[in-house]
Amino acid sequence: MYFRLNPECYYIKGAKNGAIYDIIDGKIYALTHEESKTIDTCEENQEVNPGDPFLLGLKHLVIGNFYPQKTFIEKIRWGSPIGDYQEGTPPLLITAILELGNECDRSCWYCGQRGISRSRGCLGCNIWQEDGTPLSVERWKDLIVELSHLQCMSLLIKGGDLTKDWEKTREILEFASGHSKKIFLIGHREHFSQEQLEYLGNNATLILQTDTLSIIENRHTYLFPQDYAELSEESGNVPENILIDIVSRTFTPLEPGSPLTSKKKIFKTNAFQFTHNNRLHPCLANSITIAWNGEVLPCPMMRNYSLGNIRDRKLWTFLKGTKDSVQEFWNISLASLDKCRMCEFRYACSDCRALEIAKTGDLHGKVLCDYDPSKGIWRQPAA
């Protein structure tokens, strides 16, 4: 008897153990070393014991099945497998982050200008201690047209207090509405009057920074900062429309079990994400950030990795797919990182390059992880 994983289930090998990714159910099954060896045998189309309780268990989970003969399993996937080899395919741009401004009178303890690290800083309003002059409204409009030519799927508008130049915000937002089907807008809840919130909510999906859980309404998404030093088991128990943003200057001490390092980093998978993560970085890929002063960044939190200034250049020149373009960052798949290369969870794990750089000083560094793939062991929190 033979046993093969189903068309929707992929076996990914790590240094010691393997994992099965079910791209329909979204589940990832971590295997022991012995179980991994069994699946190795199965996937090589070698005979197995039909009474093997592990394999029977997989069948019960609807992950694989027994076959009386050697069988070929064509895998379910996203797109065409030879698409990766077709040169000249236009880049898929899912999100462009546009920082319209860099002004704010608030002095939030977690603001980017304080050089602080945040697990979801990219969704914060943030201002920065940076030189430069703001891009003109006309340049922002041209940029939005350029993004529509590139078929950018969504715009994320942010940049300090957007009410500081309310007319500019309105003009750009209304222009963007004519060119983009999906617009997100980020600001601190206290920046906006109720009337402004109504207006913005009618033109964009709002993500509101707040320090006060009591003001939260169901109709918007909120970003709530949580001090790393004060994290507790309950920290994650919040309604779905609240995103917890873990904030720290150094993330020290880096104790095992933190949401930044534990199994919680591993997300559910799906066909698109699995295919995507095989080649590309799980977060940086398919996005580009234009800072308030025209600097083009791979991510709003990676301020030291500017690709150049857009003031006198067209956007496409940053997306040529060459060494000096944003795709260099997109292509940092986890499989290209030393620590992750041999990890069986590399196609489902989240990764924040900005945080890793803050901790290691290295674009390819990796310390925010409790798992040792060479031993197949997770570091456990102290009892």
Binding site: N65, P68, I76
Partner: protein, 491 residues
């Protein structure tokens, strides 16, 4: 659609999802009657282990099945929608038909009398004024299109007839482009029968980074059977003299395009293409079987049957020994693994087809390649007949004509919506092009399912015996293709 591998396994091709499942994975036919297998299954489910699996599996698969919506009227593309689509998705290559003349008279040439709907050989040559206008227009569109697709590289191919019969024009074009547009990194390529490739010409081509496709059908006897001069003298010796010299210096700058038919001895081809002095195989094909083609009239049923028997033996050997001669580059790897799996590997699963311009078939958007004939008329590609022009060097691409062509083409895909293999289909404008109008898919596609069934059977048989080999061969082949050209394959 069901098909069987040679081991007797039955597979079911699910046209909605676009892959083939082992049929005992999705039917409620129990795989094992052995009750001992059920030991670990919870008591409540003991007697329904297999049935439960099938029902759960079908429920799981149905979650990714496209939703059946009420038939919508097909959207017609407007002229205004075409240009941005072309700027984004097309312009991958301009092909200059530098001459319609050729020094050979290959018997299966689509410009021969065997193909009544194609043009015949003429003495026409393109002049530099026409070529320059075509190139300038292509570059202008390419530059405009960078804002829509920044990763494309401009590519110029030279085609014939035999393009070396107008080598002077090739030289002028290359020097003109390099001088006029020094900031652009052009890809240059051309396809040749190799007989006129002198050392001087080779030096020029290599100095300017050309990639060369040689038409080579195999060893002398095989090559000379079809690839002949007027008067029927074979061209093998002249071709090989030049190819050998080329291969000593530039083995990675060329490939071989091989055509075979029912008189071919496949074992001899496999040994031949395994040699180190022969360029790597890029494509293997049988002569085009376009509407009205008479080439195949020469083969008797006995010859066809004998050839198929030989191929069966070759396939069994391939399964047993893996690859031959040149490994992944071998004739049998190309034929059995790469060509046969093309439908399987190019099929788009789960993601929707590009822009829904072509809901069915494998057609490229006109303008992906722009073929320019010696008179300066633009055509969809070098393979389509002359009845479907898309512009000319004086006025550029005609976006209205292109919209009309696409809409007309889609209207003729009358049987595709209900066709189970519509995700795998590789047919395109060339296949449906008649004398000025398109043929209906319902009239042309009668044998497609049989053809695909045979291909799937072959590929799934290889996959059963050598689960990894298929992926390795395909990956190796397409990686190599992508390095040599922005538009895969050659002609």
């Amino acid at each position: 659609m069901e098909f069987k591998s040679q081991s007797g396994n039955t597979y079911y091709y699910d046209g909605e999802i676009g892959i083939a499942f082992p049929s005992n994975l999705i039917t409620n036919k129990p795989i094992s009657e052995n009750p001992s297998q059920m030991k670990e299954i919870p008591a409540a489910e003991k007697n329904t282990d297999d049935l439960l699996f099938y029902s759960r599996y079908l429920e799981k698969i149905n979650r990714i099945r496209p939703k059946h919506e009420a038939a919508k009227p097909k959207k017609k593309l407007t002229t205004e929608e075409i240009k941005p689509l072309i700027l984004r998705q097309a312009l991958h290559q301009i092909i200059l038909g530098v001459t319609e003349d050729c020094n050979l008279r290959c018997r299966y040439c689509i410009y021969s009398e065997a193909y009544p709907h194609s043009r015949n050989r003429t003495k026409k040559k393109m002049d530099f004024s026409t070529a320059k206008k075509a190139l300038d227009y292509y570059v202008s569109l390419f530059l405009e299109g960078r804002e829509y697709n920044p990763v494309r590289r401009p590519s110029v191919a030279f085609y014939g007839g035999e393009p070396l019969m107008n080598f002077e024009l090739i030289q002028k074009c290359v020097l003109y482009l390099e001088t006029t547009y020094p900031e652009l990194d052009f890809i240059f390529m051309f396809t040749t029968n190799g007989t006129l490739l002198t050392k001087d010409k080779e030096d020029f081509l290599m100095e300017h980074g050309f990639y060369v496709n040689f038409s080579i059908d195999g060893p002398k006897e095989e090559h000379d059977r079809n690839r002949v001069y007027p008067g029927n003298k074979g061209s093998f010796s002249d071709m090989m003299k030049n190819v050998r010299r080329f291969m000593t210096e530039w083995p990675n700058r060329c490939g071989a395009l091989c055509v075979f038919d029912y008189k071919t001895n496949p074992f001899e081809l496999d040994a031949f293409f395994g040699r180190s002095d022969i360029p790597r195989l890029t494509v293997v094909n049988m002569p085009s079987d376009l509407e009205g083609c008479t080439y195949y009239d020469q083969f008797s049923p006995g010859e066809i049957e004998a050839f198929q028997k030989t191929m069966d033996i070759a396939f069994r050997d391939f399964l047993e020994h893996g690859t031959y001669g040149a490994g992944a580059h071998s004739f049998f790897s190309q034929l059995f693994a790469i060509s046969s799996s093309q439908s399987l590997y190019t099929a788009v699963v789960l993601a929707s087809r590009e822009q829904d311009i072509f809901p069915y078939s494998g057609a490229c958007i006109p303008g992906r390649k722009i073929f320019v004939d010696p008179k300066g008329i633009f055509h969809i590609c070098e393979r389509i007949n002359q009845y479907f022009p898309i512009g000319n060097v004086e006025t550029g691409l005609n976006f209205q004509d292109i919209a009309t062509l696409i809409n007309g083409y889609n209207e003729h895909l009358d049987s595709c919506e209900s066709c189970v293999i519509n995700k795998e289909c590789g047919k395109c404008f060339v296949n449906f092009a008649g004398n000025g109008s398109f043929k209906n898919a319902s009239a042309l596609c009668k044998n497609e399912k049989c053809r695909l069934r045979d291909q799937f059977s072959q590929v799934f048989t290889i996959g059963e015996v050598r689960p990894d080999q298929l992926n390795i061969l395909v990956k190796d082949h397409y990686t190599w293709l992508s390095k040599k050209s922005p538009v895969s394959g050659g002609d």
